[in-house]
Amino acid sequence: MIRLWPKSLVGQLLLIVALMLLLAQGVNSFLLYRGAQSQNLVEASTSAVSRIAFGQDRQASDRPMRRGAMPVQRWGRLKYSANSVVTDDMQRLPELETRAGQAFANMGIVFSDIRATFIRNLTTDMTGHLIGTNRRAWRDNPINRSMGDKRAPPETRGFVIISAQQADGQWISIASVVRERTPLLVRTLLFQTITIYLLMLIPLILLGRYISRPLKSLTAKAHGFQPGETEDLAEQGPPDMRELIRAFNVMSSRVSSMIKEKDVMLGAIGHDLRTPLAALRVRVENVEDDVERERMIAGIEDIVHTLDDILSLARLGRSREQSDPVDIRSLIETIVDEFTDLGHEVHYQRGDKQSALIRETLVRRALRNLIGNAILYGQAADISVEKSGNKLMINVDDDGPGIPEEKIESMFEPFLRGEASRNRATGGSGLGLTLARAIARDHGGDIILTNREQGGLRATLVLPAD
């Protein structure tokens, strides 16, 4: 049921209109049905009134009844009784009673009381006092005969009984068949609904598209939003939609200018910090003490590294470096060599050629950070490459203490290091993993940390394979 519910605006609009239309048609039909029913009752009571009036005529003219002149069987005889056939426990129909009273009055006949009721099955005492049906045909039917005369003839919904009290207190009663002449409701209802719906369908679809087309382009624009985009989305659709598009355009230009400001600021920070650092780096060469000088150089390099990490992280996603297919083996070897040259223990066994479409300097930085972490916490790193489906996984394993499972995700938060102290002596900017993950995700990959069964941590750099 839920699955049938359409997802698009136009679909929902069409469905709601269809349901509402059906409901309105249903109510309409019910009212029509009610109207038709009371119409049938009026018709039946009119025949009954005529019959009584006819009987009264003859009584009034005091003419002896000629045998055979009246098709008694077909017309039904009037029932004369001391008490009304319409007893007090029956539900009376005041509207019919008023109508009958007026009809009699028009004909100059006066009754002291008139009662009318509707019954579904004919009571025994009224058998034979019935009009409005071809009773002979009805009675001659053997099935009906076997069941007595209490069953209503076909197409009969029930009977109206009109009972009128003469001035002498005697009641004249007659029953009249109420025919079923209500229309074929369900079919008509459906036919009407569908006709109206089809007529409304075209304007509805046009209206829906008028609304949904600008909505769709707005959604696409928001999804593919790139800061710095100057092209505004054209305002189209109804006024409130135009207003929304205008608001979106203003918002995106605001976002773009904020990001541009940030870029300008970062560029300035980069420039303004690098130049004095460069000056410092030159001056350090004048320091006579070798140990002291090397320490100072290391300190400057540490600052530069942190600065690079911050700037790369901030600029990521708007890198102008172009992606190239790169042999992952050579990339790993280049970085491994860097570390072995510094005296670290890093193992990598060259395997099959693996290609990935990457921005090499960025991925180098990510991998360098992972290996740097492995060496920092585990003294040695072991690198292996796996390919699964269209994913390339570069695993960096260490023999360190690993990370408690519940803390793994928080390792990616900026400026958080594995150990509780934020002691700079352990090195690193605290941005290493954050940046590595940002780089991997920028390439459509990720960084995954898992504790190895044999102990130690495995950091996996996932990249889409070329």
Binding site: T275, A279, V282, D308, S330, T334, D337, T361, R364
Partner: protein
């Protein structure tokens, strides 16, 4: 050599320019300082320089534009000094005809080494444009592109090289068929002389072989000449 190497140092930041000039003078160079492009232009008219160290970002006329002027009118090699680290910046600089590119902050020793490399290259070739901007070489199915410092295999796949490996390969490729000993290679690539038991060259060569030879144990591209050094075998096409 009686002639002192004459350097033009162009940087708007006096805080960097002055100590750097002092350092270079201490290393035995003659240095003129310019705080912007117009000063640099007048100095260029007045003196004969051997090399220019040029800051990219300067108020007024920037380093890129001055570099274009210098490479168009003269044969003086240019080394860019930039605060920008992006790869594209470096490529633009090299495309404009700069011979090398260092990013701030740099090690002054490395800068001196690079000055030596650039000068040696210019001296050897007579004209300075031998192996940099826009140049590319093809050898044994490989392509070495100098502007992006990239090595591309027969399938179009980029092979990652360290700076040292790139320099070494470029030295061998641009002098294909010529046997180069360790001293020469160190001189070309790093502007320094080998100390005793220096394994740096052999190390780079074996790493290069691992990346480009189909069988690094029996090299067919970079061959060892016993008692001599290394040579790049096979035909090299300069593009």
């Amino acid at each position: 050599m009686t002639h002192k190497i004459h350097i033009l140092l162009v940087d708007d930041e006096a805080s960097l320019r002055q100590p750097l000039a002092e350092y270079l003078i201490k290393q035995g160079y003659k240095v003129q300082q310019a705080s912007d492009a117009s000063v640099a232009r007048s100095l260029l008219n007045a003196y004969d320089f051997d090399i220019i160290l040029l800051d990219v970002m300067m108020p007024g006329e920037d380093g890129l534009s001055l570099c274009r002027f210098v490479t168009d009118k003269t044969d003086i090699p240019v080394i860019f000094i930039s605060a920008r680290t992006e790869e594209t910046e470096r490529i633009i600089g090299l495309e404009l005809g700069a011979d090398d590119y260092v990013t701030k902050p740099f090690s002054p020793r490395e800068l001196v080494a690079r000055i030596k490399v650039v000068l040696r290259r210019a001296e050897k070739s007579g004209t300075k444009q031998i192996s940099t901007s826009g140049a590319a070489y093809q050898f044994s199915g490989w392509t070495l592109k100098c502007d992006k410092r990239s090595l591309i295999d027969a399938d179009g796949l980029n092979i990652s090289l360290s700076t040292g490996e790139y320099q070494m390969l470029l030295a061998l490729v641009s002098r294909a068929g010529k046997v180069l000993n360790r001293d020469q290679l160190l001189d070309i690539t790093q502007g320094r002389e080998a100390h005793a038991f220096d394994r740096a060259v052999d190390n780079q060569i074996s790493r290069l072989r691992r990346k480009i030879e189909s069988d690094p144990k029996n090299p067919e591209i970079i061959k060892t000449v016993w008692g001599g050094g290394y040579v790049l075998a096979g035909e090299v096409k300069s593009l």
